[in-house]
């Protein structure tokens, strides 16, 4: 599914944020990525969802070597990945419904075809009565749930989430983790970057920890 080999990353002439990162995510696995702030979690996620090219090393995604792949192949790879951004990155001029439907639109699906799915998902994350609200009128927790719904609506092959439960109360957090688990059971490979120890303790999933840009395997799931 994903393979990193001796991957290093630096921004401009600065120091390396990631050093010799080597790991593999097998299809259908559930993994937590932990580490202190500034350890490089977000950078590692960016490399995984093709936001940045690595400074060195090899990344293989869905069997495609990114170093040799044509750039025209990237959009199709990106559409197989659902991302929950730490800052949500919702489009403020679109309703919650349209934000969630965006990946399906990009996949070329017609609105008649996906309206029911999107509405069901919004109901599931507790936003059934906020479908037509625009992000600026939603609370932080509500925005986070819209961002999560958008990431999972297309049942991606890989789900990457950066602190997905940071703004919600413990009850909603558990509900969202159950949603990720449900998706994982349906075959999606899930990787969640989080500080929330309670989430990790409750799960017996694999945990990878980043310390000073280096990856340490803490627990195999």
């Amino acid at each position: 599914m994903i393979r990193f080999e001796n991957v290093g990353m630096r921004y401009g002439p600065g120091p390396e944020v990631l050093r010799d990162v080597t790991f593999q995510l097998e299809p259908g696995t559930f993994t937590f990525l932990t580490g202190p702030s500034g350890a490089g979690k977000s950078t590692l996620l960016k490399l995984m969802f093709l936001a940045e090219p690595p400074s060195r090393g090899l990344i293989t995604l869905f069997g495609t070597d990114l170093a040799t792949a044509r750039r025209s192949a990237f959009p199709a790879l990106r559409r197989r990945i659902g991302v929950v951004f730490q800052d949500f990155r919702l489009l403020s001029h679109l309703s919650a419904f349209d934000n969630v439907a965006l990946p399906l639109r990009l996949a070329g699906r017609k609105s008649d075809d996906y309206t029911r799915d999107v509405e069901e998902l919004l109901n599931w994350v507790g936003l059934g009565d906020r479908m037509n609200a625009r992000p600026p009128t939603l609370s932080g927790g509500e925005q986070q749930r819209v961002a999560i719904a958008r990431a999972v609506v297309g049942q991606p092959d890989l789900l990457l989430a950066d602190e997905p439960t940071g703004n919600v109360d413990p009850e909603i957090a558990q509900r969202l983790i159950r949603l990720f688990g449900e998706l994982n059971r349906l075959g999606t490979t899930v990787l969640i970057a989080t500080h929330d120890r309670s989430l990790i303790e409750r799960s017996r999933s694999r945990e990878m920890r980043l310390v000073d840009g280096r990856l340490v395997e803490l627990r195999r799931g």
Partner: protein, 300 residues
């Protein structure tokens, strides 16, 4: 609520109010439509001149320096008329009287008694049958055998000069249209880049979510196509109203611009002015698309 048909939100937010770009495009479309109208007027005028003068020739018989019984203007004129009558392709012959000739020069030197003392030439107006070819050199040579001081004017010199005047106006109008097209493309390219900058978060997100460059470009090209169509249609509309007003003034007997031929456009020509918004829209569409695609190629 469930399953109900929903209106899909626009990928790019709607701009509020007329952007400065719309004003620029509108003004340029107005100027482009004026240039296009001018080229059509020049073309029409040249055609009028051609039709008025082509197919006609004028024979001028000058008074011999020393008239004799055999060499005088009357007999020479009559001989010239006979030769014209016998020339294939000549349809009608109208000899002009002294009074007609005096009338022609009246605007320049008046109608005083002095005119009568001037050695005015005899003019013979001849109409050539449509499609007939008359060899002017041979005709002139034959005329010179009976009237040595005669010459043939087939008006080609005038037609050529008027045509070259009309051509100059038409080519100048085309050059102006080309410059305006370049300026429109530059303005839209600039605006698209500014738009990409302003909507960078949306573009980056769509790109990140796996949108094809074409999908993102479409959102921009539609935006600029529609706004350019609207703004340039307004500009071309103003130009059409301007030509209608000039035509109206001429109809009312007011000379809009001294020395210039009529400036009113007919309905068909007015419709052609609306090629300006169509072409502007296409330029904006293509420019926006190319600008967005170029900008997206720079993102990983």
């Amino acid at each position: 609520m469930s399953g109900k048909k929903r209106e899909r939100g626009r990928i790019l937010p709607r701009e509020k109010g007329a952007a400065p770009l719309d004003v620029v495009i509108g003004v340029m479309a107005f100027l482009a439509a004026l240039a296009l109208g001018a080229s059509m007027l020049a073309d029409r005028q040249a055609e009028g001149w051609r039709q008025g003068l082509a197919g006609r020739l004028t024979v001028q018989v000058l008074q011999p320096e020393h008239s004799t019984r055999t060499r005088n203007m009357e007999t020479e004129t009559q001989a010239a008329i006979d030769i014209l009558r016998g020339t294939p392709g000549i349809l009608a012959i109208t000899p002009m009287s002294d009074a007609d000739a005096a009338k022609l020069i009246e605007p320049w030197i008046g109608a005083d008694a002095l005119v009568k003392d001037l050695p005015l030439p005899r003019l013979i107006d001849a109409t050539i049958a449509p499609g007939a070819r008359v060899d002017f050199a041979t005709l002139e040579a034959r005329l010179k055998t009976v009237a040595p001081d005669s010459n043939v004017d087939d008006h080609t010199r005038w037609i050529a000069r008027l045509q070259s005047l009309a051509d100059t106006i038409i080519y100048a109008a085309y050059a102006i249209l080309a410059l305006i097209a370049v300026a429109t493309a530059a303005a839209v390219s600039f605006a698209t880049r500014a738009g990409l900058e302003a909507h960078h978060d949306i573009v980056a997100l769509l790109h990140q979510m796996g949108a094809h460059s074409g999908f993102i470009a479409r959102a921009f090209e539609w935006h600029y196509l529609i706004s350019t169509l609207a703004a340039s249609a307004a500009g071309a509309g103003f130009a059409a109203v301007t030509f209608l007003a000039l035509g109206g003034l001429e109809f009312a007997g007011v000379e809009a611009v001294p020395f210039l031929p009529p400036l009113g456009l007919n309905t068909q020509e007015l419709v052609w002015l609306f090629a300006v918004p169509v072409v502007s829209g296409l330029i904006a569409w293509a420019t926006a698309r190319l600008s967005v695609l170029a900008a997206l190629r720079e993102i990983y």
